[in-house]
Symmetry: C2
Subunit: 387 residues, 2 copies
């Protein structure tokens, strides 16, 4: 039986529902951030992240820092790119615009490659762009939470390493890590960044990142100091290394309860292989996409190759807006999200299917509940409009 | 009865013990960061902070952002000071060095005024410094967690406003807000920054700040853009204003459970007046300082005027080190902290007495338990050494 209070099921693309074990970990008593029980727990957490990201290289560096997922952009922009350097930002929605803004703040020069809504930049144009200029880094949003568009990390990595081998390959995996296929070593990723409240299944408040040996070398050979104090690898690297070596260390107080919850979430996550987990997310996604298709709803990402498995972003029937639909879903105990992409925000809704909702689908049955609620609401609205 | 598991009592200068209500709030179910239940709760939390900091000016601006207390330094340095501008940093221990480093990263020019360990810079030298150069801001650590030194905010503010009225008066209140006297309006403070895990009594993971109308005007009239993306007032100001107006808003996902816990902590905190709360911390502090004095222990801050009420930093008897004492305290169920000031870290220990430990002293009796444990340990050690 769940220890949690009854509540509407949270099926937005993050934060997501969390397991009872994670909830209990959040309510853990106060611990010293430099006492051995917490030091051991934090160290173990960092080591588990290596398995989640699938890296066997001991020189890959995990970071877990108090902050929202957004902090991950500062960590990249302030540490891995220097003022005046060019960055190629692949645009699949809201988040590329923000990541580009972040680069500009730290003095880098972002160039965005944009695609129409629901699509992603095509490889020939990416190849052309990479040949035109020397880019220090290229960024891709693995799952764009604003559009539900999935990028193809393996193929893109192959392209980048073939055409511009010195360019750092940076994956914004905020809505993907733990749900979508990502093999840090095999896909030659330099940075994969995420946040605790998405497919990893922990409450929000942690910026989580894996950085490759190559990218750490780029950092170590910087000519200018990092552009941030709080988001400086210089300040955090010894801390992460010490904690992972089970040695107390201090730069800023880590959020002990949140890290305890992350530890619980990762332990649950790693009870089965990452491939099994990715497959579960695919299976549920297929079910959702079939069902909403049967309801006559069109996805923003029309091409199945572009569709995320962690979430579904779908247009509402003509003339219907999120404020008409979302409250009716809530009446049925289901919370979806409205639109986020500025140009079409009033025309679509988003359904997140990640983490325990997916892995524990058999007991929780949240996906069926959501699909049933959505169908009822659409039918009701049609009826009310006399269609 | 406490709902928490049995655990050693955490009496370091933060994180601190938290109440059952706060613990339960941490274990709250997942909520949408833009759903009305959370929007209302976050808005109410921001408004309660006005009472905690004691500001009646509606143009004073509260910020609550996912991050460690350290993030507060970036918020100040990236938003309120521009590259090339001078800042006077009053040094009472470890934290001024770090704040000065932070200013340097964002291009400001910090000048530190240092005092011997256990003391604070004296007003005549501060006055002299302020007359020598035009300082954009002056910073003071209200309670230096590394030394237990208290600074006198009211008198210092009077001096700054008399001698250099355009200089922003910035109080690092990480270990003070909620325990030591601070009246934001009356003391003409421009920024008071803190963290959730100190005297406010919430788990770690939130940077909390109040900014004066005057300082917000300075921000709005910046010539250069803020030096950070994640720590940019430009990005956060509309979000904080919208939440407080009970309107959903998005820049980065707030840590919903931690904010829920902060809400619970502030509600408990505001059940009595701030002055009553400050007095409680003084009374307990007096008791602790008398007792450790009776044990023959000398404080780092030898002058009573310089002694914090939220904590006590005390030298161990000659020849004794924290690694000899702290494990014996832990055997007795009490966690103190070791030294943090680099020059003398191996010679002293720190005892935090804040929050529920102080306000609920009658039921919790943690202070007596700690003092008893400390006396036993010192007696044991003396006996073992044949003294």
């Amino acid at each position: 039986m769940s220890t949690q209070q009854a509540h509407p099921t949270l099926l937005i693309p993050g934060p997501i529902e969390v397991s009872d074990e994670v909830t209990q970990a959040m309510g853990r008593f106060a611990q010293s951030h430099v006492g051995m029980p917490f030091v051991n727990l934090f160290g173990e957490t960092l080591t588990m992240l290596r398995d989640v990201f699938q890296t066997k290289n001991p020189a890959s560096q995990p970071f877990v820092i108090a902050g929202s997922g957004t902090l991950g952009w500062d960590l990249v922009a302030a540490n891995l790119v220097e003022p005046g350097e060019d960055v190629l930002v692949l645009h699949t929605g809201y988040f590329a615009d923000s990541f580009a803004d972040c680069f500009s703040i730290y003095g880098a020069k972002p160039t965005q490659l944009k695609a129409p809504i629901g699509q992603r930049p095509q490889h020939p144009e990416i190849e052309k762009a990479l040949k035109e200029k020397k880019y220090k880094a290229i960024t891709v949003t693995h799952v764009d939470t604003s559009t539900g568009v999935l990028s193809q990390i393996a193929a893109l990595s192959e392209l980048v390493h073939r055409v511009s081998p010195d360019t750092l390959f940076i994956v914004d995996g905020v809505c993907s890590i733990g749900a979508e296929e990502l093999h840090f070593d095999d896909m030659k990723v330099d940075v994969a960044l995420t946040a605790s409240q998405k497919a990893i299944g922990c409450p929000p408040g942690l910026s989580i990142m894996m950085v490759s040996e190559r990218a750490m070398d780029v950092f170590k050979n910087r000519k200018s100091p990092p552009g941030s104090y709080y988001a400086s690898f210089k300040n955090w690297l010894p801390i992460m290394q010490n904690y992972e070596a089970k040695k107390p260390s201090y730069f800023a107080t880590p959020p002990t309860q949140l890290v305890t919850a992350l530890n619980a979430a990762l332990k649950q996550l790693l009870t089965e292989s990452m491939n099994t987990r990715f497959q579960r997310h695919k299976d549920i996604s297929d079910r959702v996409k079939k069902a909403v298709g049967d309801m006559g709803l069109k996805q923003l990402a029309s091409d199945p190759d572009n569709q995320a498995h962690a979430m579904t972003a779908m247009y509402l029937p003509e003339g219907l807006t999120p404020p008409e639909v979302l409250p009716k879903l809530l009446e049925r105990g289901v919370i979806f999200a409205g639109g986020l992409h500025k140009e079409i925000a009033t025309r679509y809704i988003r359904f997140g299917h990640m983490g325990v909702t997916v892995t524990n689908d058999q007991e929780r049955k949240e996906v069926d509940k959501a699909l049933k609620a959505l169908k009822e609401v659409l039918d009701d609205v049609k009826k009310a409009k006399g269609q």
